[in-house]
Symmetry: C2
Subunit: 138 residues, 2 copies
DNA sequence: TTATAATTGAAAATGATTTTCACTAACGTG
DNA sequence: CACGTTAGTGAAAATCATTTTCAATTATAA
């Protein structure tokens, strides 16, 4: 459970600790699926009913800034968030239940080298996501 | 120039050939950058001023359905479209000018096999995009 | 305990996308 | 070629996600 850790990180960066933030952090830090802002909002209100959707947006913004969560793009729906893996990790999403697995894709360095040479581009970042069915959903 | 080809494909699938569609197809088929619906709209009106934004959305929908264009997600802006490469190809985007290069990522098969074994997932699709600076922008 | 500056939630504003609808035009049929 | 059917059109309205504004509240340092 990194919740305490996430909260201290917020605090260490000069942000105040509030009930609204605690509620949002608890939901997103614990989730094994990528959640949209509205999903976080709905879930977090069970522990903090007065929560406003605007605050969810603002908190997610800060968590992303601290690299505690990352953005997930899917073919259909576009903006959702999930806890950031440790270090540089990629996502594998279950197409049926939404469960997310992390993996590290070190093996990409070779590919990017080849592509860089072939295209003349200087490659700075990459973005890889796999989609499939998790063990349960197969 | 695949414009004629794109138009016949639309026709072969039972869609009618209209000036609005011709205008949209000309813009997107020729573009070397990913374009948002509004960008297509603005560009296409120079040849067909009466064009409506709604029609752009509807035409892009059909072109995507026929796999003539593909969706591009970027860290910041989310929905844009670019001509689909031939066969299975990935994108390399210039972070400065937006230029897009295509490449084929055959080498991913091995990676997906390893990840599948490690996670127990059945992997169906992948989604890879590289970001960098093109030769001109470096 | 107090002062202050960050944070909050409601409401309004904005922006993107979709739906509705009456009108128009593509194209197969006669 | 004229015609009728039906897909396609654009304007306006509706919807949905996100951002901004603002007055009230509250965490935190002094």
């Amino acid at each position: 459970m990194d919740i305490k850790n996430w909260l201290s990180q917020l605090q260490n960066h000069g942000y105040r600790l509030t009930d609204a933030r605690r509620a949002v952090v608890e939901i997103i830090a614990r989730s094994a699926r990528a959640l949209t802002p509205v999903e976080v909002y709905d879930a977090a209100r069970s522990s903090h009913p007065a929560l406003g959707l605007v605050t969810v947006y603002r908190t997610l913004e800060k968590l992303e800034e601290l690299h505690l969560i990352q953005r997930v793009h899917q073919p259909s729906s576009c903006q959702a968030f999930i806890s950031a893996g440790h270090g540089h990790e990629h996502l594998l999403l279950c197409m049926r239940c939404g469960q997310v697995a992390f993996f590290s894709g070190d093996d990409l360095d070779e590919l990017t080298r080849v592509i860089a040479a072939r295209t003349g581009y200087l490659i700075k970042e990459h973005w890889l996501q796999l989609f499939g069915l998790c063990a349960n959903c197969q």
